[in-house]
């Protein structure tokens, strides 16, 4: 009986994967509950999951969750797609022209290695407490992984495939359209995954420094009133957001490049 169950859990497929994830989720929640109720008794330091759930329900009933979700969603929905498109275009520009690449490449490397998050207070000072500062900060942190992966993916396209294409009399544009770009797409999506994780950090930090709504604002406010349960409730939502985005993009990656996963 036990052995049959274990064998089932080791199988591939959607349902066993779901069961495995559910088990690990339950185990972590149970451990958390145990630690928070038996060892760390101050709920200001660590609230047990039951308290977090209560806080979450409270936020939903009070309408705060809805308000914060709208604010954070608008920031992400505007800034994230723009930074992905912009990142792909900059990556393309860097690849298409040697001079452009040599002139701006080092600059971009330098920019991408500074922690842009640290500039959040400055963006708020420049652009105010509205959405503009959020858009810019999310854009700045999310655009670089897309640029870097786009450029390297386009450069690493299989030289043999390109030569075969050229032997069929393909023009430069045809080689790009039928070989270089399709080859790069799945790698670019890998970069978009990284960008998504960074965008979530970006939006939270931007909302820390200047806003009246959003998950970052709610976390900050809860922290200042030592409302650990509410704080963790929002962190939990952010975690779900990150996970869902990552899984969707991973799925897209596998759908677009099945030959890389055999």
């Amino acid at each position: 009986m036990m052995r049959a169950l274990l064998a089932y859990l080791e199988r591939h497929g959607a349902v066993p994967t779901l069961v495995r994830s559910a088990i690990s989720f339950v185990v972590v929640i149970a451990l958390w509950q145990l630690i928070a109720t038996q060892f760390v008794t101050s709920s200001m330091l660590l609230a047990p999951p039951s308290e977090v759930l209560k806080a979450l329900v409270n936020e939903i009933q009070g309408g705060m969750l809805w308000k914060n979700t709208i604010a954070t969603s608008i920031s992400l929905a505007v800034a994230f797609p723009i930074s992905v498109v912009l990142g792909v275009f900059i990556g393309l520009a860097l690849c298409s022209n040697r001079l452009v690449s040599m002139m701006f490449g080092p600059m971009l490397t330098a920019l991408s290695s500074i922690p842009i998050i640290a500039l959040a207070p400055l963006f708020v000072a420049w652009l105010g407490l509205g959405y503009a500062s959020k858009f810019v900060l999310i854009g700045m942190v999310a655009v670089f992984p897309v640029i870097v992966t786009t450029e390297s993916a386009l450069r690493s396209a299989d030289a043999d495939l390109i030569e075969a294409s050229r032997a069929f009399n393909a023009s430069g544009w045809q080689v790009f359209r039928t070989v270089t770009f399709p080859y790069a797409v799945s790698f670019i999506i890998g970069g978009v995954r990284v960008a998504w994780a960074r965008a979530l950090v970006g939006v939270v930090v931007a909302e820390f420094f200047g806003s009246f709504a959003g998950y970052g604002y709610a976390i900050m406010a809860a922290g200042q009133t030592f409302d650990t349960a509410t704080l963790l409730a929002y962190v939990f939502i952010l975690g779900v957001l990150g996970l869902v985005g990552s899984l969707l993009l991973e799925y897209a990656e596998k759908r677009l490049a099945p030959w890389r996963y055999v």
Binding site: A164, A167, F168, N169, V179, Y183, L256, W259
Partner: protein, 261 residues
């Protein structure tokens, strides 16, 4: 069997940069291939065989000399020629039928016509039923057949094969040789093929051209007298063995000479 399909005149190719010593890959190659003829080029590695095919395909320019295909001097790639590389080079994100139609699509043949032409060559290559599979779902032998079908589909006047079966295991290779002969028999294209397998060259070709080691030159041209269609069983005949021996001795001299160099 009338005109000259390919005329190579005094082709020399020197590789080199300012930093390193120039390397002469090919020196004064003269070669004529008649229309409908199947020529195999053999020679030690580094004798510039692949370079010659790249020049004829228009992917590379000769340092001097010229290649002329059906009276037209080669300056760039063109659909009158098609190349089959050692690696199958199919596009992994396209289905087999779209891969076989690839050259036609690039030439802006209408989609409907490109598909029906591709389908015909898929059938000739024995890949019927696999049209909507992707390359990674096929065996190495099937992929290489699709690769040959893709080259044939553009209806080139000259088909070039650069060690097309080198990456296959020996059993698959034997079958592929017979398959290639069958496909070739149905179309009678002019073929220039590079191979390292001497028995492959003797089995397939009307004529074998032996290249000397670097710099590559034409060392000898040996006609293969077997009538067509040829069966795999001729490989065990004494006459076949004699030609293989002759070619092998020519190549051996070259390999030894280049080792002592």
């Amino acid at each position: 069997m009338s005109g000259v399909a390919l005329e190579i005149e005094g082709v020399t190719k020197v590789f080199g940069s300012r930093k390193s010593k120039p390397v002469v890959a090919l020196e004064g190659i003269d070669l004529q291939v008649a229309e409908g003829e199947f020529v195999a080029i053999v020679g030690a590695s580094g004798s510039g065989k692949s370079t010659l095919l790249r020049i004829v395909s228009g992917l590379m320019e000769p340092t001097s000399g010229s290649a002329t295909v059906h009276g037209k001097r080669v300056t760039r790639p063109g659909t009158d020629r098609a190349m089959v590389f050692q690696r199958d080079c199919l596009l992994p994100w396209k289905s087999i039928i779209d891969n076989v139609a690839y050259g036609l699509t690039l030439a802006r043949v209408p989609a409907e016509k490109a598909r029906s032409t591709a389908q015909r060559y898929i059938d000739v290559a024995g890949l019927g039923g696999f049209e909507h599979h992707y390359p990674h779902q096929l065996s190495g032998g099937m992929r290489q057949r699709a690769n040959v079908a893709r080259a044939m589909a553009v209806d080139p006047k000259l088909l070039m094969l650069d060690e097309p079966f080198a990456a296959l295991d020996s059993q698959t290779r034997e079958i592929m040789q017979a398959e290639l002969l069958r496909i070739w028999g149905a179309t009678r294209k002019t073929v220039v093929m590079i191979t390292h397998q001497i028995d492959e060259a003797v089995f397939l070709a009307d004529r074998i051209v032996v290249f000397s080691a670097r710099p590559g030159k034409v060392k000898r041209s040996i006609p293969v007298p077997f009538p067509r269609p040829r069966a795999l069983s001729i490989k065990r005949s004494a006459e076949f063995g004699a030609i293989v021996d002759e070619v092998w001795q020519l190549i051996e001299e070259e390999v030894r000479a280049s080792l002592n160099h």
